[in-house]
């Protein structure tokens, strides 16, 4: 089992969600986050003059997949979230020790 943490552009959430659903990956947790990478912040205005906000709104998707689904899931996310401009975001892949479905007590791959 692997956990995918993908920080993407907010407007790419829906394309990524439906692409994952097409390959049978339904469950995910989504959080509105702020972040920055090479993309600089954004200039906003005071009444006169402006100021820079360094962190931009992003969406973080957390999804746990079976090892054999990992590359398909990553490809789906990359294909849908990429614009080629700075600010497309990053994906981290983490190992998962165990998973438990609270309702039934199922563990491991059965809980995914």
């Amino acid at each position: 089992m692997k956990k995918i943490e993908a920080t993407i552009r907010p407007e790419k959430l829906e394309p990524v969600r439906s692409a994952l659903a097409e390959i049978g990956i339904m469950g995910m947790t989504v959080t509105e986050v702020s972040g920055r990478g090479k993309q600089r912040g954004i200039l906003l205005q005071w009444r006169a003059g402006e100021y820079r906000v360094e962190f931009l709104p992003k969406v973080k998707i957390e999804v746990v997949v079976l090892d054999e689904d990992l590359s398909r899931a990553l490809n789906a996310i990359i294909r849908k979230a990429k614009t080629g401009e700075r600010g497309d975001g990053k994906i981290f892949v983490l190992p998962i020790d165990n998973a438990i479905r609270i309702r039934t007590g199922d563990e491991g791959v059965n809980a995914i």
């Binding site: 200039l43 205005q45 005071w46 009444r47 006169a48 402006e50 100021y51 820079r52 906000v53 360094e54």
Partner: protein
């Protein structure tokens, strides 16, 4: 003789001006960071209580009591003694003295509330209250007497101030600047840390309430309900509109037409028309509003560049806008509009122009220096500024033990 129409209009105007103070609370509250929203709102709202009491106890008589040497009112009306249902002997001869007294009280409240924009996000609430009481007593009441009191020295000089360009706006603007200099900038301000407005829709709502209430402020200052009130009413709306459009265009030239900008522009236009509203032809509201926004915009750029954290631009919008309004009164005033007024520069009244400048200079200098003195006094006794850790956590929690929005459920 009491006139029912006049009395009705003054009572309604009084309520309209009252609404400006909670409007101002929202206008300011939306412009500060979320952790300081309530403390900012609280300053204005607390004054509705504190000044609401002090005004009837002694503020009214210091401002409008029988003249003492042109500088202050005598104590004849202390605790509303002699202020009753019959008209005053001196002011507003067609409305009950009580109505005139309360109408003026609303001006006192919002003037004190106005300068709170300069001290947000760092002033200690107890110090704020103490300073507000001292300032109301030592600065507001005398200045109101100078300009509006029968026998006040600026009134005798002939400086015109229809609804408070000098008494309210120059006074509050210079006070905000002096206090901001005493308090020094908010933590992180000079380092360029963004001080992002927490809720611009609230700012726009507040500006809307101010605009609405300002009809009572300016048209109510006619103290009658007839033609002069209507003229001032129309001038007020024209200037607010001209100010809003001008600021919108300025924002567009430099970057984008912003909601915060258009709301600020409307207020700038309202400020500048205040002293002029009942003395000028309403159409003069157009140049008055346009120039008010130009002045406000560039004064904000200037103070920001200088690293002056007069946080919500009371000096730029109200102080400098009020200064322009007073000067504009000296330019556009016409005795044909208001026989109680005078002819300005446009109609050959050069002396009136000079009197206007004298009035603004006297009040501006007095407010600035008296504030420095009173502010230092409060700083050395109570301490003006919160502790650094209180500022970091925010004044809502450190001063008031509450926060604007709930957090983790429930």
């Amino acid at each position: 003789m009491i006139n029912a129409g006049d009395t009705t209009w003054i009572l309604i105007s009084t309520a309209l001006v009252l609404l400006m103070t909670p409007g101002l609370a929202l206008f300011y509250g939306g412009m500060v960071r979320q952790k300081n929203m309530l403390s900012t709102i609280m300053m204005s709202f607390a004054l509705l209580g504190v000044i609401g009491i002090l005004w009837v106890l002694y503020g009214y008589t210091l401002s409008f009591g029988p003249d003492l040497g042109g500088v202050i009112g005598k104590l004849d009306f202390i605790g509303l003694i002699g202020v009753g249902q019959e008209p005053s002997d001196t002011y507003a001869s067609t409305v009950p003295h009580l109505a005139f007294m309360m109408f003026q009280g609303m001006f006192a409240i919002i003037t004190v509330a106005l300068w709170t924009g300069g001290v947000v996000e760092r002033i200690k609430f107890s110090a704020f209250l103490l300073f507000a009481v001292l300032w109301f007593t030592v600065v507001y009441c005398p200045v109101a007497h100078w300009v509006w009191g029968d026998g006040g020295w600026l009134a005798k000089l002939g400086a015109l101030d229809f609804a408070g360009g000098t008494v309210v706006h120059v006074n509050a603007g210079m006070t905000a600047l002096a206090l901001a200099l005493l308090l020094r900038p908010r933590k992180g301000f000079r380092e360029g840390q963004p001080m992002e407005p927490s809720n611009i829709p609230l700012v726009v709502l507040g500006a809307g309430l101010l605009w609405f209430g300002w009809f009572g402020f300016n048209a109510g200052s006619a103290l009658t309900s007839g033609g002069l009130a209507s003229s001032a009413f129309v001038a007020t709306n024209i200037s607010a509109a001209a100010g809003a459009v001008t600021w919108m265009i300025l924002g567009w030239i430099y970057r984008r037409p912003s909601a915060l900008g258009v709301a600020t522009g409307a207020v700038a236009g309202l400020v500048a028309i205040t002293p002029a509203a009942g003395f000028v032809h309403p159409i003069a509201g157009i140049p008055i509003g346009i120039v008010a926004s130009l002045i406000g915009y560039y004064c904000i750029l200037w103070r920001t560049k200088r690293g002056i954290d007069e946080s919500l631009d009371v000096w730029a919008v109200h102080g400098m806008g009020g200064l322009w309004g007073a000067i504009a009164t000296g330019i556009f005033a016409s005795a044909a509009i208001n026989s109680g007024g005078a002819d300005g520069l446009l109609w050959g009244g050069g002396m009136q122009f000079a009197k206007q400048i004298a009035g603004v200079a006297a009040v501006g200098a007095f407010a600035f220096t008296a504030t420095l003195g009173l502010g230092k006094l409060v700083d050395r006794t109570v301490g003006l500024r919160v502790e650094e850790h209180e500022e970091v956590v925010g004044l809502d929690i450190s001063q008031h033990g509450e926060r604007a929005y709930g957090g983790i459920i429930p």
